[in-house]
């Protein structure tokens, strides 16, 4: 156990990367997920088709394959725009953010679509009768009713994302699991270190999921009679 305290600062650095990555990804994917969900529910045929292809493809791929695809594939793309070579070699953090945001936006989009679909159409008709155009309707009437039903699955996805960031270990990005692994391989004390990392992940994800459950209870909407 002593080895954990000795190397705690290294693990803390890894944890910082994990947290940064998680927060950025959750924020970005919530934003884009909203767009995806709204597009899937209210878009025209073209938008819906494109988004459907996007969502179904992403959800059929393992997260790890997506990460590898973007990490190794993106720099391999040689995009020429009229003689000017587009440098697709992003930094590590940005590439990971891109991969995870793509993955998570599809999930959030599905949730948003489900929530928006569960609002009775009477609301839309009433809003239209009052003369509201699309965006005010969305912002003032539909989204406020959709958000409570969205919160529990969304926190589920947030927790899964935090756990998913551990996968960047396999592309040598210094997150919590990677740092733990390096320390474990250096010192040979596998179990205490990995258990410590497990405790940290557990605390973070458990907090998120409990918050989600509390939020779900807090904003519980009764059934419309």
């Amino acid at each position: 156990m002593q080895v954990v305290w000795d190397n705690a600062h290294l693990m803390w650095n890894g944890l910082r990367v994990t947290l940064e990555l998680s927060i950025v990804i959750i924020a970005l994917s919530t934003f884009f997920g909203f767009l995806v969900g709204v597009g899937l529910t209210y878009g025209n045929v073209v938008i819906r088709f494109l988004l459907r292809v996007y969502v179904d493809t992403i959800r059929g791929l393992p997260l790890l394959v997506l990460i590898f695809l973007i990490f190794y594939g993106l720099p391999a793309l040689k995009i020429q725009i009229g003689g000017w070579h587009l440098d697709t070699n992003l930094g590590r953090f940005e590439t990971a953010t891109l991969a995870f945001t793509l993955f998570a936006s599809a999930q959030v989009g599905e949730i948003v679509r489900g929530s928006l679909g569960s609002i009775p159409t009477g609301q839309t008709e009433a809003a239209r009768a009052l003369g509201m155009t699309f965006w005010p309707r969305l912002g003032y009437i539909l989204l406020p009713q959709a958000v409570p039903s969205m919160l529990p699955p969304w926190t589920n996805i947030a927790a899964e994302l935090v756990k998913g960031t551990s996968l960047v270990t396999l592309v040598s990005m210094s997150d919590l699991l990677f740092s733990t692994r390096k320390i474990a391989e250096r010192t040979g004390e596998m179990i205490p270190l990995y258990l410590a990392a497990a405790v940290v992940y557990f605390v973070i994800c458990f907090t998120i999921s409990r918050t989600g459950a509390w939020l779900g209870h807090r904003f519980e909407t009764g059934t419309v009679r």
Binding site: S166, A198, C205
Partner: protein, 206 residues
């Protein structure tokens, strides 16, 4: 690999779900603790714990080490165990919800014709629950199947591993990964298709 892991995981999940519903409070607490802990820890970490941690727990030459090496000789076996543990936790949640959703009148009817508690579980709860949970079950199976790609972290020759090998050996990066992605996609769609077909065939309206 997926088949074995998920099969064992399903058994664990079913067992735990029934335990959670019908066993005394301390057992229930243990099951809930198991589920919560496993669900909140990344699969990769569980794999590392098993793969790197277990051999360390049993030093060389001890009798324990012999056992560990006999049951879990290589990465593939270890991954199956890790996936089974992980899957068991998720499936327990699903099965618990399924067990709770069985309408009381069926249980009362079963009691009325004299079924014991075990008989009740076997003849009434299980069929109803299995039909009820099929959609979320198939969802979970598909996502757990996709999680098999993580096995590449302990050098199991898996589809992802093969794609990486091709991409690094032949420098055909995008083709390799897109091929791997397509294979996963096709398999997931196939699984989803089969499960949807099953759903339709044994559809149960309660």
């Amino acid at each position: 690999m997926a088949v074995f892991g998920l099969a064992i995981g399903t058994v664990i999940g079913l067992l735990m779900a029934f335990l959670r519903s019908y066993a005394p409070a301390p057992v229930r607490f243990l099951v809930t603790a198991y589920v919560e802990i496993i669900r909140n820890v990344p699969l990769l970490l569980i794999i590392f714990l098993l793969y790197f941690g277990l051999p360390q727990a049993f030093p060389r030459g001890s009798s324990g080490r012999e056992w560990v090496l006999r049951i879990l000789p290589d990465g593939e076996r270890t991954f199956i165990v890790a996936l089974a543990i992980y899957a068991g936790a998720y499936l327990t949640e699903i099965f618990t919800a399924g067990i709770l959703s069985v309408a009381k009148r069926y249980l009362e009817a079963g009691r009325a014709i004299g079924l014991t508690r075990f008989g009740l579980a076997r003849y009434v709860t299980m069929p109803i629950m299995l039909r009820a949970v099929l959609p979320s079950l198939s969802n979970t199976f598909i996502s757990l199947f996709k999680d098999t790609s993580i096995a590449v972290s302990i050098a199991v020759p898996e589809l992802t591993w093969a794609a990486r090998k091709i991409s690094t050996d032949y420098f055909r990066v995008i083709e390799a990964w897109i091929a791997a992605g397509l294979l996963y996609l096709v398999t997931c769609y196939a699984i989803a298709f089969v499960l949807r077909f099953l759903e339709r065939r044994i559809k149960w309206t309660v």
